[in-house]
């Protein structure tokens, strides 16, 4: 494997590794002719280009709505997307990829396709774009009127990118950190970063031909109490790495933590700091936008309660001024939602967004304080990464995860130390209980500790891992901060 550094790949490097990539599955042959793919993309109407929708919405202060959705069979998937854009009035569409494809297990995906074809309903948790191939992708992208993004969780997404871009998708989610650490167990980070440089460089090649593909680092990571500085620094690193490979439209994302002030501050800090860094590193031409993910942790099984969670996320998104919001469905806790449930999530989201739309932005002292804190923490983390990489962000990232200077809580990957343990403070903001080797200074650690002591005192118990467990279950049981058993309300009853 070639060594990793944050420098733009010569086109030749990508073209040299292409044959091997396309060999990954038989449909790879369909994209051998990159010129044809670019010509196909060039003919896509403006209204279906993801980056244009974002470039229009962002200055207008609009928040666009996008669901998650993907099923196994082409016809079924088209019906689903059409329902989401027509009845659900989604502004932006997704195509969520199944998890065999995410792990390049195309033979397993094939089995899922056959099983699904046989039974008539989806046995895969997403759309197996690689197996279905370019033609199927084009059927999908041609069947709808709005822009579609490929959403997945794939450490090695090179073949997926080749096929879906040739297939007419105009946005591609993911990144070498965010699609490895939360989504895999033993993929070396160096390898996934290299594979994502390939993807970014491919997008850069398209860009050189005048085709803008939007790229979106996956903000929420494990979706479970991720401290904002951690998700923000990952998003910023991936944005900078992508820009280096020639990506021109980037959407950085953030998953709702639940405390309104922290959420608003986190997204604003992310936008500001990322914009500043892109600018100062010579990527000022990149169009930067933001995405807010409604609650990414465990949902309440009750649909009415789930609607409450969806709405609360929308409130925070609206206040944070995100360019787009990713909506959840009221069936989140149960399983991949039906089209109908997904549409209900969209309609609820839209209602809250539009009722808020004209209102004044939220400006409070708490937001300012959180904003300053998050920005400071994020800068410290980023500085540590650069220091460890001796100025190289990609190399620094690998070393930072090795040493624990960077870490992601609850990550399945062995590439993350998993030493950071987050917990909520008295007001529900995410703080850090155990820092491991996380590269923030002692002042910041003291601030977090003080917040936690405040909660401990209020709850009359010590800060222990029990609090963390309580917090993990809290939202699904009807609240934000996990209370000691004795203080729990009756709403969160055990399931039968």
């Amino acid at each position: 494997m070639s060594t990793l550094s944050n420098t733009r790949w010569p086109a030749a490097r990508l073209l040299a590794s292409r044959p091997e990539v396309l060999d990954g599955w038989k449909t790879g042959r369909q994209v051998e002719d990159l010129e044809e793919a670019i010509a196909y993309q060039a003919a896509i109407p403006q209204a279906k280009r993801f980056s244009i929708a974002l470039r229009v919405a962002d200055p207008a202060g609009e928040t666009l709505v996008q669901p998650r959705a993907g099923v196994c069979l082409v016809k079924e998937h088209i019906n689903l997307l059409q329902a989401l854009e027509q009845e659900g009035q989604a502004d932006l569409l997704p195509t969520t990829i199944d998890s065999y494809t995410r792990h390049n297990r195309y033979a397993d995906a094939q089995a899922g396709i056959e099983e699904s074809t046989h039974s008539g309903h989806s046995h895969l948790n997403g759309f197996p774009a690689v197996n279905l191939g370019v033609h199927a992708c084009r059927m999908v992208t041609e069947a709808v009127e709005r822009p579609i993004e490929v959403r997945h969780g794939t450490p090695d997404a090179r073949l997926l990118a080749e096929i879906t871009l040739a297939g007419g998708f105009t946005a591609f989610e993911g990144g070498g950190i965010s699609y490895n650490i939360p989504y895999a167990k033993s993929v070396p980070l160096e390898r996934s970063l290299l594979h994502w440089q390939y993807v970014d460089r491919l997008v850069g090649l398209y860009a050189e031909q005048g085709i803008e593909i939007n790229r979106e680092p996956f903000g929420p990571l494990t979706g479970t109490m991720v401290p904002p500085c951690i998700s923000n620094v990952v998003a910023i690193i991936e944005a900078l790495l992508a820009a280096e490979q020639g990506v021109t439209s980037i959407t950085v994302g953030y998953g709702q933590c639940g405390n309104l002030y922290q959420d608003v501050a986190a997204l604003c800090s992310l936008r500001q700091l990322c914009g500043e860094l892109l600018e100062s590193r010579g990527h000022g031409a990149v169009h930067l936008s933001t995405v807010f993910h409604q609650w990414m942790g465990g949902f309440p099984p009750d649909e009415a309660q789930a609607f409450g969670v969806i709405s609360w996320g929308t409130v925070a998104a609206a206040f944070s001024g995100a360019t787009k919001i990713i909506s959840k469905s009221p069936q989140e806790a149960l399983g991949v939602p039906t089209a109908e449930a997904n549409i209900r999530g969209l309609r609820c989201t839209r209602q809250v967004l539009s009722m808020f739309k004209e209102q004044q932005p939220l400006a409070t002292l708490e937001i300012d304080r959180e904003h300053d804190l998050i920005t400071l923490e994020t800068r410290q983390l980023l500085n540590a990464v650069e220091r460890l990489g001796a100025g190289d962000l990609a190399v620094g990232t690998v070393r930072a995860f090795q040493s624990g200077a960077l870490d992601v809580p609850f990550a399945p990957s062995r590439e993350a130390r998993g030493a950071v343990i987050p917990v909520r403070d008295l007001h529900g903001a995410i703080r850090i209980l155990e820092f491991g080797n996380l590269a923030v200074d002692s002042e910041i650690k003291a601030i977090h500790r003080a917040f936690l002591e405040e909660r401990a005192q209020a709850e009359g118990r010590a800060v222990t891992f029990q609090m963390v467990t309580d917090d993990i279950y809290a939202v699904s049981k009807g609240r934000l901060v996990g209370k000691p058993r004795s203080q729990r309300s009756t709403m969160g009853r055990r399931m039968p």
Partner: protein, 144 residues
């Protein structure tokens, strides 16, 4: 002392429940061998043999349980641990479905206990205690 093997099967990467189950079963007095996420059937069986486990506690959240668990009981039998307890929990099918049907399907595949989405670890612990008792094994319950 009762050994159990814990893990998330297939290509499933959902790690949060797994981490909590590890703590809960350990706190309940079991010796937990946690294989983490993305565990193959072969890895489960090898770990069970190696640790002399009474039960395989398998999670599947991502919806692929049916494909990922197919043939597991048969492979256990082949490997000589045919009577090991097989537990399965999580979001077992793609999409919301009738749990009674789901339960039947996995029972037919040889699972001893099947849990619906979003249960608390205690539900699994209680069940395992009962099943072990049924097999004449009593677990010393630690002071909590």
């Amino acid at each position: 002392m009762v050994n159990v093997v814990l893990g998330v099967i297939g290509t499933d990467c959902h790690a949060v429940g797994n981490k909590i189950l590890e703590i809960a079963f350990r706190d309940a007095g079991f010796i937990v061998h946690n294989l983490g996420v993305m565990v193959s059937q072969e890895e489960f069986i090898a770990a069970a043999i190696e640790t002399n486990a009474e039960a395989l506690l398998i999670s599947s959240l991502c919806g692929h349980a049916e494909i990922d668990c197919r043939g597991l009981r048969e492979r256990c039998i082949e490997a000589g641990i045919g009577d090991i307890l097989l537990y399965l929990g999580g979001n077992l099918t793609v999409g919301e479905s009738d749990f009674a049907e789901v339960k039947q399907k996995f029972t037919d595949m040889g699972f001893d206990r099947i849990f619906p989405p979003g249960i608390m670890p205690e539900d699994g612990i209680d069940a395992l205690r009962a099943d072990l008792r049924g097999r004449g094994l009593e677990l010393e319950i630690p002071d909590v």
